[in-house]
């Protein structure tokens, strides 16, 4: 219950933030603009809507996950509000979990609003809505879960600016980790081992990218959906446990 209280308070903090609405409006405008763009393009216009819609949802979700995620903990420390919470009978990991859940609620509501926008545009243009589209959206949300956990992990031991840089770096490398493994395969044994280690330790975010499959109607198997979901959840869980370990040892000076 304490976790939920903290989560709800975090959510309330987020939704009373103007920046969030600006981003949301911008995202909806981008999704809406696909109506105009379809008039310009020739053939496969539903592809353009889906592409633009999924990309906007993904992009703005990641933006919020990183930039709100890095300040989740640091803001509480800067404003000293964390002292009032941790001096209450609230274990530190509950605080972290609460902050994480709070942002996830924000991101969920945010994603739902953007998806509603996308579905409205698709309905208006009579574009077919497929199960695959929702699978892709679910995977985008999984990616947001992992990225938020990365941001939270960094923010437990370093400044907001450094957290932002590190999280962005992980996000970028996470999408290229398969390539890293490939490059490693062509290197000597040391380089190969190093790049393999990076490949297995860093999140493989490309797994959560189904945008291409949706556009090209390439179905993915149920087992793959299940395994990838398990992968995302386990990864986010791992990051949260690591964050808890670091956070537990920390002095709040």
């Amino acid at each position: 219950m304490r976790v939920l209280s903290i989560a709800f308070n975090t959510f309330r903090e987020n939704i009373r933030e103007k920046l969030l609405y600006n981003l949301l409006i911008f995202a909806l405008l981008m999704i809406g603009s696909s109506i105009l763009l379809t008039r310009l393009t020739v053939g496969e216009w539903d592809r353009l809507i889906i592409n633009l819609g999924l990309s906007s949802i993904n992009f703005f979700g990641v933006l919020i996950a990183i930039f709100v995620g890095i300040s989740l903990v640091s803001k509480e420390i800067d404003k000293k509000t964390i002292y009032t919470i941790l001096s209450k009978p609230v274990p530190r990991y509950e605080f972290l979990l609460g902050k994480y859940l709070g942002l996830m609620i924000t991101l969920f509501v945010n994603t739902v609003v953007m998806v509603a926008g996308l579905l409205a545009v698709m309905a208006y243009l009579n574009a077919p809505v497929t199960l695959l589209l929702f699978e892709a959206l679910g995977f985008i949300f999984l990616e947001l879960m992992v990225i938020t956990a990365v941001a939270l992990l960094f923010s437990t031991f370093t400044s907001a600016t450094l957290s932002a840089i590190f999280t962005l770096a992980i996000y970028a490398v996470g999408h290229l980790s398969t390539d890293l493994k490939q490059f490693g395969a062509q290197m000597d044994s040391v380089g190969k081992a190093a790049l393999n280690a990076i490949y297995y330790v860093l999140p493989n975010l490309e797994r959560f990218n189904l945008k291409g499959q949706v556009i090209h109607h390439v179905k993915i198997s149920g087992t793959d959906v299940l395994l990838t979901t398990a992968y995302g959840l386990a990864y986010a869980g791992l990051l949260l446990v690591l964050a808890s370990i670091i956070f537990q040892r920390r002095d709040f000076q």
Partner: protein, 322 residues
């Protein structure tokens, strides 16, 4: 200096403080173990799933998929928000990865062609991508049309790159047997500053000789010399050997014709040509095979390359090929 706050406070002996410490550390020790255990289990799960998912997916197919599903360069470019050069590099690296595979199917090449188009749209000045891509499409994919399209796109964006008309000329020379066009492109390359001297020589000879084995060999020697990538060099070296075969076959065709004229029949073996003094020696087959003659038809062929490279004889040289 220290003053105890009160009598109760100062009564605690040092031993209790010690006990309390071990108490605290054992508590955090237990918590640490639990958290560490959770971390280990989750890490194992993550790694296991990562490997399982890797196995379930043919990585190569995945990579090809990623190339096939690349959005058009015009769409991708603004989406990369200023990082399109990096994007071009990354896609190029993926292309190179796919080419490193054992088997590349014809369909794969279609996606490669698309990916090359994306790379060169993201970075229109990526001359190496045009040049190497053009060669790959022509030599490996056997799609000279795609190769030419890519190279022409490159020439528009990079009028100062002599390699592009040079490679285009090569395509017209070897694959399309259009010596006029080949000569035109070579002439264009010969006008660009910074070109090596042999470009001029080649251009001149193309106008005069059309496609002779000697010219082809010289052309290929340059290509081999210029190729930085071992894979590309191997392609040219093979091609060079094929031209050698064509040259040898041409020489022996002449000898064979003379043999038939003199003897009124075909030789039984290729060695007959040497024994009876029609040629000085049978040349070595460059791929390590041998040259054979069919006594029935009088056709001469290489044991490694049954298919003959179509060779054009410039006017004046007598030919049995065309």
């Amino acid at each position: 200096m220290d003053m105890s706050a009160n009598s109760a406070g100062s009564s605690g002996p040092a031993s209790t403080s010690h006990e309390w410490h071990t108490h605290l550390s054992s508590r955090s020790w237990l918590g640490g173990i639990l958290l560490g255990l959770a971390a280990a289990v989750l890490l194992a799960t993550v790694l296991g799933l990562q490997m399982e998912l890797d196995q379930r997916h043919d990585e190569r197919a995945g990579r090809l998929e990623s190339l096939r599903m690349l959005p058009r360069g015009e769409v991708l470019r603004p989406a990369l928000m200023g990082f399109h050069h990096l994007g071009a590099d990354i896609i190029w690296l993926r292309i190179v990865q796919v080419l490193g595979e054992q088997v590349v199917t014809e369909q794969d090449y279609e996606w490669l062609s698309h990916a090359l188009d994306v790379v060169t749209t993201l970075d229109p000045l990526y001359i190496y991508a045009y040049d190497a891509g053009g060669t790959i499409l022509a030599e490996l994919a056997h799609r000279v049309d795609w190769s030419n399209r890519l190279l022409e796109k490159g020439m528009k964006a990079n009028p100062a790159a002599w390699r592009l008309p040079f490679t285009l000329g090569f395509n017209y020379f070897f694959h399309l047997n259009d010596y006029v066009k080949a000569g035109e492109y070579m002439g264009q390359a010969a006008k660009i500053p910074g070109r090596p001297l042999y470009v001029d020589t080649l251009a001149a000879r193309l106008y005069v000789e059309g496609k002779s084995p000697l010219l082809a060999l010289q052309y290929l020697e340059i290509m081999i010399q210029q190729a930085e990538d071992p894979q590309l060099r191997a392609i040219y070296e093979d091609k060079y050997k094929e031209v050698l075969i064509a040259r040898d076959l041409g020489t022996m065709d002449l000898a064979l014709a003379r043999y038939r004229q003199t003897r009124g029949r075909n030789p039984q073996t290729i060695a007959d040509l040497v024994k009876e003094g029609f040629v000085a020696s049978v040349p070595e087959e460059p791929f390590g095979g041998e040259y054979r003659v069919d006594p029935e038809t009088g056709e001469i062929e290489s044991s490694t390359h049954r298919e003959r490279l179509r060779l054009h004889r410039p006017p004046g040289a007598n030919s049995s090929q065309e």
